[in-house]
């Protein structure tokens, strides 16, 4: 439907997929590629960014937040309205919701913002006090701030160059907040680069707050058929098992993931 370039690397690709939109729960993903080509051959996984609606409120499709990182994402960045993409979904385990008085703290790094737009809408509807901790490389890679502000989400921004918000990594302000967490506590939701996920999960554990992370893995099929996208998961004292992030995730309990 549209491909809005947010920067030289990021675009929001809107797909006319009403059925996918109607069925999507926050945290789920779709597998996407340009249709009818062998390059790329396989779809790539993307968190559903927005569930799109028309003026009357009827669901018209979904969007994905695309960051150029290779051949496939470059091609998606170049698509124009009317081009056809192949989209499989929604797939995977969504975020578990949380309700007041517990707060929701969403922690996003870069393109890891993607699953939090739909989660923010859902948390806003349930009137859960919500904060978005959002880190990017530079100020012009912080996107959709108005969107979150309109939903009443508190924003805590960080940039690596200090161009906006706190200079440094998003884990700095998160740790400060965790130190001062109220008696009702907070559910920490995280999505972003793996080192950030590891740091967030360990911080949440240190301050005894529950944490859900959305992982990203190289994925072949999205349906559990290929066993490409495994992550090590540990329940209690068991030895770690490699489980498929497409059907057992992408959202996992941060305390169950084993960091390599």
């Amino acid at each position: 439907m549209a491909n809005v370039r947010l920067s030289r690397d990021y675009s929001v690709l809107s797909l006319a997929a009403p059925e996918v939109g109607r069925r999507t729960a926050p945290g789920q993903f779709v597998m996407v590629k340009p249709a009818g080509v062998t390059d790329p051959l396989l779809r790539r996984p993307f968190s559903v960014f927005e569930v799109l609606r028309d003026a009357a409120g009827a669901v018209t499709g979904v969007s994905i937040l695309n960051k150029r990182a290779g051949r496939s994402t470059n091609k998606l960045y170049e698509l124009e309205p009317g081009d056809v993409v192949s989209c499989l979904g929604p797939l995977g385990v969504p975020f578990k919701p949380v309700a007041a008085p517990t707060e929701a703290w969403m922690v996003a790094g870069g393109v890891g913002l993607a699953p939090f737009a739909t989660l923010a809408e859902s948390l806003s509807r349930s009137k859960t006090p919500t904060t978005l901790f959002y880190g990017a490389r530079t100020a012009d890679e912080l996107f959709y701030l108005d969107f979150f502000e309109k939903l009443g989400i508190k924003l805590v921004l960080t940039t690596e160059d200090g161009g906006r918000g706190v200079k440094g990594r998003v884990t700095g302000p998160l740790e400060a907040a965790l130190k001062n967490a109220g008696p009702s506590g907070a559910m920490v939701y995280a999505c972003g680069p793996e080192p950030m996920l590891e740091a967030v999960a360990k911080l949440a554990a240190r301050y005894n707050q529950p944490c859900q992370v959305s992982v990203e893995r190289v994925m072949g099929c999205g349906l559990g058929g290929c066993y490409s996208c495994v992550v090590p998961v540990k329940h209690g004292d068991e030895h770690a098992n490699l489980v498929r992030s497409c059907i057992s995730g992408p959202v996992f309990d941060g305390a169950e993931l084993v960091w390599e």
């Binding site: 062998t38 390059d39 790329p40 051959l41 396989l42 779809r43 496939s72 192949s86 499989l88 893995r217 190289v218 072949g220 099929c221 349906l223 559990g224 058929g225 290929c226 066993y227 490409s228 996208c229 495994v230 992550v231 098992n241 490699l242 059907i247 390599e260």
Partner: protein, 312 residues
């Protein structure tokens, strides 16, 4: 015309020649939400050893031109859990289940096959002597004519089920391996497994997958696989299950013309999990257009007369 799509693999008759390839279809049940398993000629399970296996650390796949390289490392739940947890559900879904059997030793192949012989609802055994990704994955059997002969004969003695060794293309002359399997009593052969391959990230100078090397699959390998099926068809009498980069009915028919009795579809499940009814319709359409009453009439009906010169 009522098209007859049935094909016969030794004692086994399938309603159509389309089989889901091992390692590309999970345990079959993963795909139940997108395809009626009873519609397929057969479903081949992921490779199973006696015991559970974790496989290789990720990344395990990388996409390459018109294909992909994988080194999953035969992650699997082991034969006992398969029989207990998956097989009853596959039977319930109406699937004809082929079990892909792995072993680190000849004894292990035999033991896994014995377990399967006592289970309810196994259609056939596909002997995995061709996984390129693990040292002890049977490739030592699949790359030696004597090894192929020995493992097939040993397994044949241990089970009443049809035994179908899956051959590797990573040998000089795959047809001689088909012959060794036939001599040892194999009921059919399936080919090809993936081509040993690797891909390097030139920016970091590192491998693109953890295992460095892996198996290449997808449309990229199809012409080589067709050639290998044709070579085997000329040398052996047992049925051949052909595979390698099949994406649609035309590709499937190409393998059948080259001598395949049935075909497997693997990587295309990742590209398009809704592929099955499309290929089935395509086969019927081809049979109507070419006035073919029985699909088995196509097997090996390739005409090697040189093509007419075409002025493009």
């Amino acid at each position: 015309m009522n098209a007859d799509l049935s094909v016969t693999l030794g004692s086994l008759t399938l309603p159509n020649p389309l089989i889901a390839a091992s390692g590309c279809f999970g345990y079959g049940l993963e795909y139940e939400q997108v395809v009626d398993l009873s519609m397929l000629g057969g479903v081949v399970s992921k490779g199973l050893f006696m015991k559970e296996r974790q496989g290789h650390p990720p990344p395990r796949i990388v996409e390459t031109p018109a294909g992909m390289i994988n080194a999953i490392g035969l992650q699997g739940i082991g034969v006992h859990r398969f029989v207990k947890e998956k097989l009853p559900l596959l039977n319930k879904a109406g699937a004809r289940t082929f079990v892909n059997v792995c072993g680190t030793t000849l004894d292990e192949y035999v033991e896994v096959c014995k377990v399967l012989s006592q289970a309810e609802g196994v259609a056939a055994i596909e002997l995995n002597i061709s996984c390129p990704n693990i040292k002890e994955g049977g490739i030592q059997f699949g790359c030696s004519l004597n090894g192929t002969y020995d493992v097939v004969s040993a397994v044949k003695k241990a089970t009443h089920l049809p035994v179908i060794p899956k051959l590797t293309p990573n040998v000089t002359d795959v047809a001689s391996f088909a012959r060794a399997a036939e001599d040892a009593g194999a009921d059919a052969v399936s080919l090809v497994n993936t081509f040993l391959a690797m891909a390097i990230d030139v920016e970091t100078r590192r491998p693109k997958i953890t295992n460095v090397m892996g198996g290449l699959s997808g449309p990229a390998i199809r012409p080589i696989a067709v050639r290998m099926v044709w070579e085997c068809y000329q040398l052996v009498k047992i049925p051949i299950i052909g595979m390698g980069g099949i994406t649609d009915a035309r590709d499937a028919i190409e393998f059948m013309l080259a001598g395949a009795t049935a075909v497997q579809i693997g990587t295309q499940n990742f590209v398009d999990p809704f592929v099955w009814p499309k290929v089935l319709d395509g086969l019927k359409n081809y049979m109507t257009r070419h006035n073919v009453a029985k699909i088995s009439d196509l097997i090996g009906s390739f005409d090697p007369t040189p093509p007419k010169p075409v002025h493009a």
